[in-house]
Amino acid sequence: MTWQHFNWLAPLAIALWLLAAWSAFRHKKAVDVFMIAGILVLGAFIAGFWLNVQRPPMRTMGETRLWYSFFLSGAGYLAYRRWGYPWLLAFSCLMAGMFAAINLFKPEIHSIALMPALQSYFFVPHVTVYMLSYSILAVATLASLLQLRKIGRGKSDPKLYDFLDNLVHIGLGFLMLGLISGAAWAKEAWGHYWSWDPKETWAFITAAAYLLYLHLRLRPTVSPRLTLWTLPLAFALLMITWLGVSLLPSAAGSVHIYS
């Protein structure tokens, strides 16, 4: 499968997700069918594309967006099954659809080549756990904004706090696994496990921000609003780590800029 197939598979997946999101509010029974079908369509494309390019499709920004769509829809669906919030599913579907659409409208140069530094068994787990973590933390951010609104209206929702804290723990767990696998890989490829390369520095910043949230939550004496606002802030830092680092002047010599 090539990017040509994506031109009709992606709209199909997006349509299925949008149907699922709509059903979550109206016909809850149809959600599973639409959602699973949408995830399977994108999953089939990723698998076929992987076979075609004969390397893990995780190198270009366009390729990492495929995984983000895939995991975001998957994580959103699982979270919906677990907690039953329709808005959560709708948001995950919109985000997943948006990233698939970016690949449709703005295809970047896709290359078959994988540079030697990326040819490692660390490559797939490293990128996969990060995409999974980003997806989960995106949902956590949304939940934090919802909680902030509830506090603004007078009362926080303890169930939502449970949900939120669960997501941050799980998302942070994956974030740490991404960081540690990256460090182990760096030792093998670049001679040192931590060189404060700009991408590493920003990964550290992101991790510190989420750790800050968890440690603030340990004590109820801190303003709940301040604590909750660290999550959107942390997610903004995460987005810079993922998408923005290559645009920063400090990243001129980064070894993490590939395409």
């Binding site: 090539t2 140069i109 290359s111 078959i112 080549a113 540079m115 030697p116 530094a117 040819q119 490692s120 449970d162 804290d165 669960n166 941050v168 723990h169 799980i170 942070l172 767990g173 994956f174 740490m176 696994l177 540690i180 696998s181 460090a183 182990a184 030792k187 093998e188 490829a189 670049w190 001679g191 040192h192 496990y193 931590w194 404060w196 700009p198 520095t201 920003w202 550290f204 910043i205 510190a208 921000a209 750790l211 800050l212 968890l214 440690h215 603030l216 340990l218 004590r219 004496t221 801190v222 810079i240 680092v245 920063l248 002047p249 400090s250 001129a252």
Partner: protein, 417 residues
């Protein structure tokens, strides 16, 4: 929160934030007065002593765990303040281009250490207090009943990584060695251009590299830019998908030679010579052309050339040329024999992502003569000695297990509260 007087025990967030902020500002002042922190001050055995002292303090404080100072040092408010300080310092690092060497007469921010944060006093002081605070909370929790395996894995793992990374920085050695094919080398240049003799030697038996198939592009004859200019198209050479479109031309691959040399007037033939280049024979058909037969048809060889063979483009019309891009490397490999002073000998093939570990050193494929590519007659290696590597790896392993625990347990991973 009821208004407790500042500095009355127990210390909370306000006191912690003030102290950590003072430590950071103090570090900046120190930097202005004394210049950057010299990591070689921590050279063995000083780092062992400092690390040992931190551990000793942490355990000595366990019986005093109800004293206000101990409670504060191992408590949540200080942890939050330290995380906030590390966040600010690493943000400075993430936004300011970091330099290997500081210019002697930089502006105010350069003198504060912003261009080399890891070597600045503020960073070192906050990092040090973090190590102490972490060690104290770990020691305190060790002697308290309750669920603590995950807590221990995450915090002690992080402590080991931070300690080994920080203290290890003073003992780590890194050199780049250039070895000519057929020669034995054991000398490297130090930073001050002095020749250093290392306790190990490398003999380079062979260097080789392989390339991916190149890509084709249509370029503008006058500007030399790939077309369409707003969003250039590239066509990956792949004989299983020999047809593609490039900026108004339909390109069909007929024959692809991964290793070719020129033959005859404008042809190529396969040859495994080291100086060989990639060449492809194509037919290009103009898609926008009108009339019965469609547009113009061009055919011929296209090659990107190299240092020894010429570039061979295919002229399409007055404005367009079909060219081959420079191929991307697939692998670099160096066949070597390594000798250590202790008498060890090892033959190995060193590649990117496949370093050789011998006698406490790790040897990495680092570079080659870019201009000559496969013809390079030398290979360079990065040699790294890090006696603190194993504690760091042990810490990473503990931390990874702790992360799995976070994923499995969710918010229950926080332990009893």
């Amino acid at each position: 929160m009821d208004k407790k007087l500042l500095w009355r025990s127990p210390w909370g967030y306000r006191e912690s934030l003030i102290i950590v902020a003072a430590l950071t500002v103090g570090g900046w002042l120190m930097q202005l007065i004394a210049g950057p922190f010299n990591f070689y001050l921590l050279h063995r055995p000083v780092n062992y002593a400092v690390g040992g002292l931190i551990i000793l303090l942490a355990f000595a404080a366990v019986p005093l765990r109800n004293r206000p100072l101990v409670k504060w040092l191992s408590g949540g408010p200080l942890a939050v303040s330290l995380l906030a300080a590390l966040l600010v310092l690493s943000l400075i690092m993430g936004l300011t281009p970091q330099m290997q060497k500081q210019p002697p007469h930089g502006d105010f921010f350069v003198r504060l250490g912003f261009t080399q944060v890891t070597d600045s006093w503020a960073f070192v002081l906050v990092y040090g207090l973090t190590l102490l605070s972490l060690a104290m909370v770990i020691a305190r929790r060790l002697f308290r009943p309750g669920r603590r395996v995950l807590f221990f894995l995450n915090h002690a793992g992080l402590w080991l990584v931070l300690a080994a990374g920080g203290f290890g920085a003073a003992d780590r050695e890194r050199h780049v060695m250039h070895v000519t094919e057929g020669q034995v080398e054991w000398r490297v240049y130090a930073e001050d251009k002095q020749v250093l003799e290392l306790p190990l030697a490398i003999r380079l038996d062979d260097f080789d590299m392989t390339e991916y198939p190149a890509r084709l592009a249509v370029i503008d004859r006058t500007s030399g830019r790939p077309l369409p200019e707003s969003n250039p198209h590239f066509f990956q050479i792949d004989m299983e998908q020999p047809e593609g479109r490039l900026a108004g031309w339909e390109v069909t691959l007929q024959e692809y030679l991964p290793q070719a040399v020129t033959a005859g007037a404008e042809g190529y033939q396969a040859s495994p010579m080291p100086a060989a280049t990639q060449a492809v024979r194509v037919i290009a058909r103009e898609t926008s052309g009108s009339g019965a037969g469609g547009g113009a048809i061009r055919q011929g060889w296209v090659s990107g050339g190299n240092r020894f063979l010429p570039v061979s483009p295919l002229m399409l019309d007055d404005h367009h040329v079909l060219v081959m891009t420079q191929p991307e490397p697939r692998s670099f490999t160096s066949k070597v024999k390594v000798f250590t002073q202790a008498g060890q000998e090892r033959e190995a093939v060193i590649e990117v992502n496949k370093p050789l570990s011998i006698g406490g050193w790790m040897i990495y494929q680092f570079g080659y003569d870019n201009q000559s590519g496969r013809m390079s007659n030398y290979s360079s290696f990065e040699l790294v000695y890090d006696p603190w590597l194993y504690p760091a790896l042990a810490g990473m392993l503990m931390w990874a297990l702790g992360s799995l625990g976070l994923i499995y347990r969710g918010r229950g991973a926080g332990g009893e509260k």
